[in-house]
């Protein structure tokens, strides 16, 4: 800072209009008042002008004040609204993971291990398997008997093990045979 630097009241004139404060308006008033004194020698000629200037400066003060207050209010409102907005967005994103209706299952369609068959289908397949397993066991037994020579090979008695329905023809013999075969085991 050197001598002769401009005094701070006059600096208010250099400011951007939207950055003015009420204090600046007062500084401006002071400088203008001083300048007016310089041009008036008897105090009469510029009196009207002087008071018009005072009037304009009063309006200016009111506007600057109102403007600054409004800016502050708007800023606060804007910040409040922003905060509310953020809050709502956050709430919205967290609610999309919940089940809307209970007792439902969410299945990822890309999962290779996803369930694909109904209970009914599963039951039928299991029954069929059990049947086939039983038939296999019987067939394996018979094979064993033939291999060990217990049963003659010329007359392979085709015993049709149909656990479901009994054979229609030659009831007695086949039944005896059946029984015998099974009995001998």
């Amino acid at each position: 800072m050197e001598f002769g630097e401009e005094s701070s009241p006059a600096l208010a004139f250099e400011k951007n209009a939207f950055e003015l404060t009420v204090e600046d308006v007062y500084d401006i008033s002071y400088v203008i008042g001083r300048d007016l004194l310089k041009i008036s020698s008897t105090g009469e000629e510029v009196s009207d002008l002087q008071f018009r200037i005072v009037r304009v400066l009063e309006m200016f003060e009111t506007l600057v004040n109102k403007y600054n207050l409004s800016v502050e209010e708007l800023k606060m409102e804007r910040d409040n609204l922003k905060a509310e907005l953020d809050r709502i967005i956050r709430e919205g994103s967290s609610s999309s993971g919940q089940t809307g209706v209970t007792n439902q299952l969410v299945v990822d369609l890309n999962d290779p291990n996803r369930p694909r068959f109904t209970m009914q289908e599963l039951k039928e397949v299991l029954q069929e398997r059990n049947q086939l397993k039983a038939q296999l066991m019987v067939a394996q037994e018979e094979l064993q008997l033939y291999k060990s020579g217990i049963l003659p090979q010329s007359e392979p008695t085709m015993v049709d093990v149909d656990l479901g329905t009994p054979p229609a023809t030659e009831d007695g013999s086949s039944t005896v045979n059946e029984k015998t075969t099974i009995g001998k085991l």
């Binding site: 008033s29 041009i39 009207d48 008071f51 005072v54 400066l57 409004s70």
Partner: protein, 449 residues
């Protein structure tokens, strides 16, 4: 969500509108500034040309002739006092443009009460004014701005009361119109006296507040701070910003702090339109304080009695002198109050060995009494081993030259001493008829007569 967006938009619109309005108003302001500079250049033009620039709409008939008075209803008196005195802020648009306007407004009310020949109304008003000012000063007794503002306005009111009193001694510089405006019916010299006493009170309160602010900086700034290492780099700054906080951020107080504070005081008093003579008295009082406080320290502290300190003090005194010149205050007698200090500093620097030296000392130190001179000589501490202490025989020599001294023999100066304050009469050139009452003062109940 949608409602919120709408609201924000609406607010933004309002904001935009306000900004536009604002821009308009600051444009008007710019026009006014140009008008003012145009007027000031026009003023130098010959007056007879002026009628050529008259707006064609202006009719030859004169605008309404005002008498320069303000009418108010008796029941509004309390409100008047409150709005123009008690609640008035020393900083505002109206008072920044015309700082002594309150005084003029009050006087115009006084004029009207006198004009009505209503002595009750007038008495009540005068008392109301005096009480009001007392109250506001009491409420702000530590506030430098308020005190300065009201001192200025009280002094102005005093001057108005004198100028328009009708007394011969005060009429010499009045215009014919102003002479016509003098008080018609009442003699207010008693009230003037009361007002004058009040003004003296305010002045002393103001001085006290200024002294309190300045005192912590005096000894550090004048004596302790060593600025002589690099004189150019330490050249003190003059006018700084108008805050009243002392320069405390990095180092302790320096002479710059003192000068800065003086500038703050001086500029505030000017802003408030204080009459120069009063401002000068205040500055003189402050300079006395600086000088006396510093001097007393030298009396008390041996470590301050060196050649180097003497040089430092003389340097600081020259800075103070320069400050006075910058602010056109050379004629206020302030520098004379520093003479004891200046001579003490000279005494510290000068040779103190031969008889001629002793004689010179006795002759030059007119502001110092023998007790003080001897004290300084005895306290003198040489700065290095080459320098010798002052011999007691030398001291006796000096004393012998001072035998005929017949003044006071106090060692210390009285820092509380106050010069008597005077309020010389200063007429104002203001034409009361041309004064208006700005609306921001909230005095709508006054009628301009």
């Amino acid at each position: 969500m949608e409602g919120l967006t709408l609201r924000v938009e609406h607010l933004q619109n309002e904001n935009g509108k306000l900004q536009n309005l604002f821009q308009e108003k600051s444009n008007i302001n710019e026009d006014i500034r140009q008008e003012v500079s145009r007027l000031s250049s026009e003023n130098s033009v010959c007056r007879c040309d002026l009628h050529l620039r008259v707006h064609p709409k202006q009719t030859p008939a004169l605008p309404k002739e005002y008498l320069g008075m303000l009418e108010y209803k008796r029941e509004d008196e309390a409100r008047l006092i409150q709005n123009i005195i008690t609640d008035l802020k020393p900083k505002g648009v109206a008072v920044n443009v015309i700082p002594t306007l309150p005084a003029f407004i009050l006087f115009m009310c006084v004029r009207h009460a006198d004009y009505l020949n209503d002595d009750n109304k007038l008495k009540s008003l005068m008392n109301g004014i005096i009480q009001g000012v007392k109250k506001v000063v009491l409420a702000h007794q530590k506030d430098f701005e308020s005190l300065s503002f009201w001192l200025s306005n009280t002094y102005q009111l005093l001057n108005c009361l004198k100028q328009y009193s009708g007394e011969e001694q005060f009429l010499k510089q009045s215009t014919p119109r102003q002479k016509k405006n003098c008080l018609q019916n009442f003699d207010l010299s008693e009230h003037r006296q009361i007002l004058s006493d009040l003004a003296i009170q305010i002045y002393h309160q103001l001085i006290s507040v200024m002294q309190k602010t300045l005192t912590p900086a005096i000894v550090p700034g004048m004596l302790e701070h060593e600025s002589l290492q690099g004189i150019s780099s330490m050249k003190p700054t003059g006018f700084r910003k108008r805050s009243s906080s002392l320069y405390k951020d990095s180092e302790t107080y320096s002479i710059s702090s003192i000068l800065q504070e003086l500038s703050v005081f001086y500029s505030a008093m000017s802003h408030h339109g204080m009459e120069q003579s009063l401002t000068k008295q205040a500055v003189k009082q402050l300079f006395f304080l600086i000088g006396a406080t510093t001097f007393n320290q030298i009396m008390l502290r041996k470590d301050m009695c060196s050649c180097r300190k003497g040089m430092q003090i003389r340097c600081n005194i020259s800075y103070l002198e320069e400050w006075l010149k910058e602010n056109e205050l050379q004629s206020c007698g302030a520098i004379d109050t520093l003479r004891p200090l200046a001579q003490a500093a000279w005494l510290l620097q000068v040779n103190k060995s031969t008889d001629e030296d002793a004689k010179e000392i006795a002759e030059k130190c007119t502001e110092l009494n023998p007790v003080q001179i001897v004290k300084i000589l005895n306290s003198y501490t040489p700065i290095d081993d080459f320098e010798k202490r002052v011999t007691s025989s030398f001291v006796r020599q000096v004393q012998s030259f001072l035998q005929e001294y017949e003044g006071a023999t106090q060692l210390m100066l009285d820092t509380d001493y106050r010069f008597q304050v005077t309020f010389p009469f200063y007429p104002s050139s203001t034409a009361l008829e041309s004064l208006q009452v700005p609306s921001s003062l909230r005095l709508e109940f006054l009628t301009r007569i």
